[in-house]
Amino acid sequence: MKSKKVLLVEDEAITILFLTKVLERLGHSIIAVTARGEEALDLVKTHEPDLVIMDIGLAGDVDGIEAAHQIRRISNVHILFASGYNNAETLSLTAKIPFTLFRSKPLGFENLRDAFDTLSIIE
C-alpha cells in the first residue's frame, strides 16, 4: 500500500502517541497534529494530506463534524472519523459528508489497517 500523508485532528495525547506509532508501523506518516477543529482547515491547505483522521469531540469551538464540513468546501481529502460517540445521530451527521468513513474508538492496529484498506478501495 502506498504511504499516505496523514493529518491527525485529536485532542487526547495518549491517543495521539498511540496512533502515531500504529501509523508508522503501517507505513504512513503523520504530517501534522492539531487538537483544534479551527486549525484543521489551515493545515489541510498547507500540507495537502492524503487522509485526515478526525476526532469528533475536540478542543475549541469547532467540533470534528463542523471541521470536516469546512474542509470539504476546499478539498476532497479522505476523512476518517474516529470517535467514541457512535450513536445514530453522530453516524447520520458524518454519513452526510462525502469521502468519509467512521470507526468507533478504540482504534486498534487491525481496525486502522482495515479502514485504510477500505479507503484505498474508495480511491
Binding site: E12, I14, T15, L17, F18, K21, V22, R25, G84, Y85, N86, N87, A88, L91, S104, K105, P106, G108, F109, E110, N111
Partner: protein
C-alpha cells in the same frame, strides 16, 4: 452502528400522540359547543312556546267565560221578554256571581235597545266611555265583536271590550251586551315572565296583528297594526303555533318568537327573546370551554416539552457517561499498546502478558459498545463478531434471534471466556459458535478447525469465570479439532433495570 442506535425509540412518538390528543380535544370541544348551542336553542324555543301556550290559554279562558255569560244573559233576557219571572236585579246578581272570581274580567253589562243600562256585574264596568258606547250601540251582530285596546275612563287601565247585539223572536232587538277584559291583568302576568332585557310578550289580533297588550308597556305602540309580520303570515297560512326568528320592525332587535293562536278567537299570544340574551350564557360557557381547552393543551404541551428536555438531558448524560467509560478503556488500551511497542524479543514473556491484558480489557470495551438501550444487556451476536474480528478469526454464529440480548452479568464473563478461546485458536481459523437456550439454561458450543491449546493459567481463568461467576460447567469435548461446551443457569441474575 451500535446496538444502542438500533434500539433507539422514536422520540417523535409522544409529540404525535400529543397531536392526536389535541385533535381529539378539539373534536370534543366542537361537539360540546355544537350540542350546547343546540340544547340552548331547543330549551329557549320550548320555553317560549310553553309560555305562549299558557298565555293563550289564559286569554282563551277569559273570552270563553265572557261568551258563556253573554249566552246565559241572552236566555235570561228572552225569558223576561216572554213574561217570565226574572227581573233585572236577578240578572245583575247572577252576573256578579259569575264574574266574581275572574280578575281579568272587569265587568259584563246588559243594555236595553235605547242604550240604558239594565244589569251589570260591576259599577266599574269600564264600558260606558265614549269610544265603547259608539262601538257597542252600532253593532248589529249576534256574534262577538272586539274593540281595539281602550283606556277605561274610570280606572285608566287598558281594556278590551267584547260585545254583541241581542235579538228576541222575530228579530226583535232586545239590546246589547258587553264585557270588558282588564288588559292590565295581562300586563302584570306578562311582567312575571323572564324574557330578558330585550324580550317582549304580547297579544295581537290574528287578522291584522294589531297590538292588543304588550310587556314591557310601550303605550304608543298599542293598537299599531303590523300586517305581514312572520307569525301573522304563518297563522294566515293555517299555523296554530310555531317558533320564528326575525328582526323587529320598530326596534331592529333580532328575536326568537314563539306564537300561539287562540282557537276560536281572533287573537294570538307572542313571546319573544332576544337572540343575544338566549345565547349569552352559551357563548360564555363556550368561551370558557375554549379557554380551558387551550390552557389544558398549552400546559400539557409545556409539560411535554419540559419532559422531553429532561429525558433528552438524561439520555445525553448517560451517553456521555458511556462515552467517557469507553474513552477511559480506550486510553488504557492505548497505554498498553504503547508499552507493547517498546518490547523487543528478549522480553517476550512480559510482552505476551501485556498482550493478554490488552485483549481482556478490549473485551470489556467491546461489551460496552454492544450494550442495549437500557444499559442492562449486550447484543451477544455483535459481541461475538467483534471479538472474532479483533482476534483475526472467521466466525459463524448460530444464535437466534439475531438481536438476542444477554444480561451484562452473563455477557462480560462469557465474553472474556470467548476472548480466551478466540485468542488461543489458530490464526485465521474457522470458528463455529452455537448458542441455544433450553428453558432457564444457556448452552454455548465452540468448535474450531484446528488444535486449541489453553495454558494452565488461561484454563484456570476460563474455569473460574464459568464456575464461580456463572455457576456453570465447562467441558472440553475434543482437542483436535477443538470442541468445547459451556452451560450455565440464566436465573442466576435478573435484570435490575426496568424500562
Amino acid at each position: 452502528m451500535s446496538s444502542y442506535a438500533r434500539t433507539r425509540t422514536n422520540r417523535a412518538l409522544p409529540f404525535l400522540l400529543f397531536g392526536a390528543w389535541s385533535v381529539f380535544l378539539f373534536l370534543v370541544l366542537g361537539f360540546f359547543i355544537y350540542s350546547t348551542w343546540k340544547a340552548t336553542e331547543t330549551t329557549a324555543n320550548e320555553t317560549s312556546a310553553n309560555e305562549a301556550r299558557i298565555l293563550a290559554n289564559s286569554l282563551d279562558s277569559a273570552l270563553r267565560r265572557i261568551e258563556a255569560i253573554m249566552d246565559w244573559t241572552e236566555v235570561a233576557v228572552r225569558r223576561i221578554e216572554s213574561g217570565g219571572s226574572l227581573i233585572d236585579e236577578a240578572i245583575t246578581s247572577q252576573l256578579v256571581s259569575l264574574t266574581r272570581n275572574f280578575q281579568e274580567i272587569t265587568g259584563i253589562t246588559y243594555y236595553s235597545p235605547d242604550g240604558s243600562k239594565r244589569a251589570s256585574s260591576s259599577t266599574l264596568a269600564c264600558i260606558m266611555n265614549e269610544d265603547s258606547k259608539a262601538l257597542v250601540f252600532t253593532n248589529s251582530h249576534t256574534s262577538l265583536e272586539y274593540s281595539a285596546t281602550l283606556d277605561c275612563d274610570e280606572t285608566g287601565k287598558h281594556i278590551l271590550v267584547a260585545h254583541r247585539a241581542l235579538y228576541g223572536e222575530g228579530e226583535k232587538p232586545l239590546g246589547y251586551i258587553a264585557g270588558s277584559v282588564d288588559l292590565s291583568f295581562y300586563e302584570a302576568l306578562f311582567s312575571r315572565i323572564k324574557v330578558g332585557q330585550n324580550g317582549m310578550v304580547s297579544f295581537r289580533r290574528a287578522d291584522t296583528s294589531r297590538l292588543v297588550v304588550r310587556w314591557p308597556i310601550i303605550t304608543e305602540q298599542i293598537n299599531n297594526l303590523a300586517p305581514g309580520i312572520p307569525p301573522q303570515l304563518a297563522i294566515s297560512e293555517g299555523a296554530k303555533e310555531g317558533v320564528i326568528q326575525y328582526r323587529g320592525g320598530t326596534d331592529g332587535i333580532e328575536r326568537i318568537f314563539a306564537f300561539q293562536r287562540i282557537e276560536g278567537y281572533p287573537f294570538y299570544a307572542l313571546v319573544g327573546r332576544e337572540v343575544g340574551d338566549v345565547f349569552d350564557s352559551w357563548l360564555l360557557n363556550s368561551v370558557i370551554a375554549v379557554l380551558v381547552t387551550l390552557l389544558l393543551l398549552f400546559t400539557s404541551g409545556i409539560f411535554l416539552i419540559q419532559l422531553d428536555k429532561n429525558l433528552n438531558l438524561k439520555n445525553r448524560l448517560i451517553h456521555e457517561l458511556l462515552h467517557r467509560t469507553n474513552n477511559s478503556l480506550q486510553l488504557v488500551l492505548s497505554l498498553v499498546q504503547l508499552s507493547l511497542f517498546q518490547f523487543e524479543s528478549p522480553n517476550q514473556n512480559s510482552k505476551t502478558l501485556l498482550e493478554v491484558f490488552y485483549s481482556r480489557v478490549r473485551t470489556l470495551s467491546l461489551a460496552q459498545k454492544c450494550i442495549t438501550r437500557d444499559f442492562s444487556s449486550v447484543i451477544f451476536r455483535d459481541l461475538i463478531v467483534a471479538l472474532a474480528q479483533e482476534t483475526g478469526q472467521e466466525v459463524r454464529v448460530n444464535l437466534e434471534p439475531p438481536q438476542y440480548s444477554l444480561l451484562l452479568d452473563f455477557a462480560v464473563p462469557l465474553g472474556l471466556v470467548l476472548n480466551e478461546l478466540f485468542e488461543n485458536s489458530p490464526d485465521k481459523s474457522q470458528v463455529d459458535v452455537e448458542i441455544t437456550q433450553i428453558t432457564n439454561k444457556l448452552v454455548m458450543g465452540y468448535r474450531v478447525n484446528g488444535l486449541l491449546k489453553l495454558s494452565s493459567d488461561t484454563e484456570n481463568l476460563v474455569r473460574t469465570l464459568i464456575a464461580h461467576q456463572l455457576s456453570g460447567n465447562f467441558a472440553i469435548l475434543a482437542l483436535d479439532p477443538f470442541e468445547c461446551t459451556v452451560d450455565f443457569p440464566l436465573d442466576l441474575y435478573s435484570n435490575r433495570i426496568h424500562v
